[in-house]
């Protein structure tokens, strides 16, 4: 009872200033980064605070109708579907732009051995349970590469995986393993997508598989494990360790920035910059997106490749800056 | 003492590592490092007076050179007066397709022009003339900064200077440096360029001015070699270039040819070259010094003279052949004339069509003309 005057005073203050809250909120742009892309640290590049959001929630948050928050940018690893674009309420305030700024990729490195990989081979090497001829899933006991294919080295399977929770880890499971699983055991998989994913991406826990957190550097780990050991690494590790030289082709495509950028190398996920451009927000969006699209950020010698972003080709980077620059200019005019 | 000398040697050896950019007002070293090139300065107390992006003509088709750095320096005499100026233009980034020769190097109305090389992707030349400094002329940004620095220091800018200009360019980089030497007293008013007492026509009547120009010309012949060396960063950072007016022996000793002769002598004394080889190379060096023009032949001129000689001889052979077959001089003359006229018309038509509908223009092996925005007027 004694506290009610204090509470009343507080509500009075809130009530008096309530009309101003939307104005205050409107001054803050909504900057969202998908949780497994947070390692790109866009906040350091743009000088703005970016909120980390799960992939599932991000599109909803970005597209939610919210008056007073016209300036929105997001970094995501998937394009919006047609339905999502149509339903995106934010898009109605202006032009929805999805700009591909690069890709995240996983590259298989060795310390010298060179052999061809496929998603199916990696699936059979990595998963906990593999499909038996009778349709049942049994524990994976394959110990040597040659057991998978006669053309592979006669050496124990030793694979270093990317850190758990990273987008590289998701590329391994969602892109490589899932595809390999579909090729190898497609007919035998359950119909339920969650069960399929679980079967296809649950990894073995024996010493064939090591997780990134357990090793000093990839180069040191590879040297200690023998010639046929394999490390699945992202672009950040590739650039950070100059002694990494030998990359294995996947489905006949040798990883390179060019092959990753044009989509030929498939162990990759795109990174999009989503934004809505309108006459009111064009300048603000340009001010935030500009540093993010600069050569010093997304170019091969820039900050984001050192954090894992495989850059676009030079011509595409220039084209991206020109086309977005025109969008901003046209909207502002 | 040993450690002090050792530190001094180290400091000198690694002086070039200190590449912090010089700002207006800073003292310039004897060899100025700009944008990955070196520009030697004649002996004296030089200060950086202006540094700004400059302008180049033509403005396009030169590749992605970044910008042109225009640097202006002032030399202060021991008495504290201004006695020389320098304006430098260099490219920021190397290109792939070369630069060109200065327009001033192709003039015939200057005191001296020497073209050492004028090929498609290599141009080296120098000239001596006079420059008029007109206060009303719109100045490049670096010169405006220099004017401000001069005003701050109470330095009086001249109305006329004797100018030695140097252009050195290869496929990647270009250095254009003009040294303006003050010779007239400060109160001599400006005139127009043609009427100046430093013009080539007036010079012959003025023994003192003639001698001054001659000393600048002799100095320029020595200096061009060092500007060339600077394009490839081959000057020791502490290299002191003699100034105009230095003794002939000093200029000779400092010349690139003399340095190369001493290098040959060192190779000979070390046994890497035999006496015969060293003597032969020394003679070739002297020959190269005497014949220091390495012009390419203008492909257009080459084609013209080839065509002219071919057409002349082929028309003559046509006349002979036709006469041989017809045994009639009138018929032979008529056929020959008609053939020559039609073939000439055909050549013009093909050339015209090629210009309009043909492939990308070729790049002949003759230098194009490239120039910058300069502070003074020299024409």
């Amino acid at each position: 009872m004694k506290s009610w005057p204090r509470l009343a005073g507080l509500w009075l203050i809130v009530a008096l200033f309530a009309p101003a809250w939307p104005c205050v909120a409107a001054a803050q742009p909504m900057l969202l980064v998908q949780d497994d892309l947070a390692d790109l640290r866009p906040n350091e590049v743009t000088g703005q605070t970016w909120a980390t959001t799960s992939r599932a929630d991000l599109q909803g948050q970005f597209c939610a109708a919210r008056s007073g928050t016209p300036t929105r940018l997001a970094l995501v690893s998937h394009a919006l579907s047609r339905r999502q674009r149509d339903d995106c309420a934010a898009a109605k305030d202006g032009k929805l732009v999805e700009a591909l700024i690069g890709r995240r990729a996983v590259i298989a490195m060795t310390s010298g051995a060179n052999f061809a990989l496929t998603p199916e081979l990696l699936y059979r090497a990595l998963v906990r349970d593999v499909a038996a001829p009778d349709g049942e899933f049994i524990a994976n006991r394959v110990a040597r590469w040659r057991d998978l294919d006669a053309s592979l080295p006669d050496a124990p399977i030793r694979i270093l995986l990317p850190p758990s929770g990273s987008i590289e880890s998701r590329i391994v499971s969602d892109v490589i393993l899932y595809e390999g699983c579909a090729v190898r055991a497609g007919a035998m998989l359950p119909a339920d997508p969650l069960k399929r994913m679980a079967i296809c991406t649950t990894l073995r826990t024996d010493n064939a598989v090591t997780h990134a957190a357990d090793r000093p550097t990839v180069t040191a780990w590879l040297r200690g494990q023998g010639n046929a050991a394999l490390a699945l690494v992202g672009v950040a590790v590739l650039l950070a360790e100059p002694d990494l030289e030998t990359a294995l082709p996947l489905d006949g495509v040798t990883p390179s920035f060019a092959n990753i950028a044009d989509g030929r190398y498939r162990a990759a996920l795109p990174v999009y910059l989503l934004t809505v451009i309108s006459p009111e927000t064009a300048r603000t969006v340009a001010g935030i997106a500009g540093p993010l699209l600069a050569e010093a950020t997304i170019g091969p010698l820039g900050k984001l490749p050192r954090r894992g972003l495989a850059p676009l080709a030079a011509a595409d980077r220039v084209k991206l800056r020109v086309s977005l620059g025109r969008e901003f200019e046209n909207a502002a005019d | 003492m040993r450690s002090v000398v050792g530190l001094l040697v180290l400091a000198i050896l690694f002086a070039s590592a200190a590449r912090a950019e010089l700002a207006p007002g800073d003292r310039a070293p004897p060899v100025l490092a700009i944008a990955g090139k070196q520009v030697p300065l004649p002996e004296g107390n030089w200060i950086v007076a202006g540094r700004a992006p400059g302008a180049v003509t033509p403005g396009k088709d030169l590749g992605s050179y970044g910008t042109i750095w225009n640097v202006v320096l002032l030399r202060i005499s021991p008495r504290g007066a201004l006695d020389a100026m320098a304006e430098i233009n260099v490219n920021d980034m190397a290109v792939d397709d070369g630069w060109g020769v200065a327009a001033d190097c192709q003039r015939s109305d200057l005191v001296l022009t020497v073209v050492r090389s004028r090929a498609g992707w290599d141009a080296t030349c120098f000239f001596v003339t006079h420059t008029i400094w007109n206060r009303d002329t719109a100045l490049p940004a670096a010169w405006r900064q220099a004017n401000a620095v001069a005003a701050q220091r109470g330095l009086i800018l001249p109305a006329t200077t004797v100018t030695a200009g140097f252009r050195v360019a290869n496929r990647r980089d270009i250095i254009d440096v003009r040294f303006h030497f003050l010779a007239d007293p400060a109160d001599v008013p400006a005139t127009n360029w043609n009427a100046s007492q430093w013009s080539r026509d007036q010079l012959q009547q003025d023994r003192w001015r003639l001698a001054f120009d001659r000393s600048v010309a002799e100095w320029s012949a020595m200096m061009i070699g060092h500007v060339e060396a600077g394009l490839k960063n081959r000057l020791p950072p502490t290299w002191i270039t003699p100034a105009p007016g230095a003794a002939e022996a000093s200029l000779d000793r400092a010349s690139i040819m003399s340095l190369r002769q001493r290098r040959l002598a060192a190779l000979r004394s070390s046994g890497l070259l035999s006496a015969a080889q060293a003597d032969r190379q020394s003679a070739l060096l002297r020959q190269a010094e005497a014949d220091d023009s390495h012009d390419a032949i203008d492909p257009g001129a080459d084609d013209f003279y080839r065509l002219l000689s071919y057409q002349g001889l082929s028309v003559t052979s046509d006349a002979l052949v036709t006469f041989m077959w017809t045994a009639q001089s009138v018929q032979a003359a008529a056929v020959t004339l008609l053939q020559a006229s039609l073939r000439t018309g055909r050549s013009y038509a093909v050339a015209y069509l090629w210009d309009w509908y043909g492939d990308t223009p070729t790049r002949p092996d003759i230098a194009r003309t490239v120039d910058f925005a300069y502070g003074g007027v020299d024409r």
């Binding site: 920035f257 | 090929a119 220091d292 053939q339 790049r363």
Partner: protein, 358 residues
């Protein structure tokens, strides 16, 4: 204070440096270098990693060799992994700069055609790249020294290597470089040549930068690693520098964009003759036709017109050949360079066995 002998020596050293008499500091055999080998007043680029200087020397020139280029300095460097030589770098370059370039024949003309790129050529400058297989046998004096160096350390050296050859020359200098790689470190034969050639075409501009002593920044990656990264490293650096200039206010945004777009198509060009010339197909076709028609028009006799046209055609051929030959001789004399291309011996040019393995 009295000058000691050592102080005097230091002063002499300073004066000598100021006089430009001494050549630039060069590495000694046994030293390890990374990224750049300084030799004869220029920088020679090396791919990333440690390189051991194994041999330094000069190429022997004939007594009547033309050209005041001093001597041809050569250097051989080794890269190893354990006791195995994984790469050999051999460099040749002139000691003293010329004034008017190098005479033909140019070594770029002799390179094997399959994996060869003529980067550019003109009267005064040229550059080319080629890839081929080399047999690591005998070679120049610097290589003999290197063989002894390898043998003394009991290192293994393969007798066949894959070689990337680079030649750069301008009015003053030349660099002839060969980088030999152990094929065991590269994928299968066809892929290896293709990878090495792609890498060599990107590494070649480093030699031009080195001639100008402008090599800065981290060393260039080797062939295997470079194949994983950007295939336009020169363009990437250019775009970054242009952006930095724009950020500093040295150029406007429009200018930066215009240059960024120009940079994408920038290629070194070669000297090209004018496209329209007397020996073009349209001239060869139209000239006899014109001659025939006019001869018939005047003589009104078809056989006579044909005879005249044919004879004129034969005469024109001789006249053309004669005028071209005499003009070629005249212009050749007028534009002759003082210096012939030096005589160079490369690793594998002589049959002397390697004898370096243990």
């Amino acid at each position: 204070m009295r000058l000691t002998d050592k102080c005097l020596a230091a002063v002499v050293l300073l004066l000598a440096l100021a006089g430009g008499m001494l050549p630039a500091w060069a590495a000694e055999p046994g030293e390890t270098v990374q990224g750049i080998l300084p030799l004869a007043d220029r920088q020679l680029p090396l791919p990333r990693g440690e390189w051991i200087v194994a041999g330094m020397g000069v190429q022997t020139q004939p007594q009547d060799a033309a050209g005041p280029f001093g001597v041809v300095r050569s250097a051989v460097l080794i890269q190893r992994s354990g006791d195995r030589v994984t790469a050999i770098a051999e460099f040749n370059t002139n000691e003293i700069a010329l004034s008017d370039g190098w005479d033909a024949p140019h070594p770029c003309d002799a390179a094997a055609a399959d994996f060869r790129l003529d980067r550019y050529h003109s009267r005064l400058d040229a550059a080319c790249v080629s890839v081929a297989t080399s047999h690591i046998t005998g070679g120049p004096p610097a290589w003999q020294q290197a063989l002894g160096f390898i043998a003394s350390r009991h290192w293994q050296c393969d007798e066949t290597m894959l070689t990337a050859a680079f030649v750069v020359s301008d009015r003053q200098d030349f660099v002839d470089a060969r980088l030999h790689f152990d094929p065991a470190g590269l994928p299968g034969q066809d892929d290896a040549q293709r990878i090495l050639f792609a890498w060599a075409t990107r590494f070649a501009p480093e030699f031009e930068k080195g001639l100008a002593n402008q090599l800065t920044g981290p060393p260039f990656d080797g062939p295997l690693r470079a194949a994983l990264l950007s295939d336009t490293p020169t363009l990437d650096s250019r775009l970054l520098e242009l952006e930095a200039l724009q950020g500093d206010g040295a150029i406007s945004a429009a200018d930066a964009l215009s240059q960024q777009q120009a940079a994408q198509n920038e290629r070194p060009r070669s000297a090209e003759p004018e496209p329209v010339s007397v020996d073009g197909w349209y001239y060869r076709l139209s000239t006899p036709l014109i001659n025939l028609v006019t001869a018939y028009g005047v003589t009104q006799s078809a056989p006579l017109a044909v005879a005249i046209a044919l004879t004129e055609h034969v005469a024109h051929t001789f006249v053309y050949a004669a005028t071209q030959a005499s003009w070629d001789r005249a212009t050749g004399q007028a534009t002759r360079h003082t210096s012939a291309w030096p005589v160079l011996i490369h690793i594998g040019d002589t049959d002397k066995p390697a004898g370096a393995t243990s």
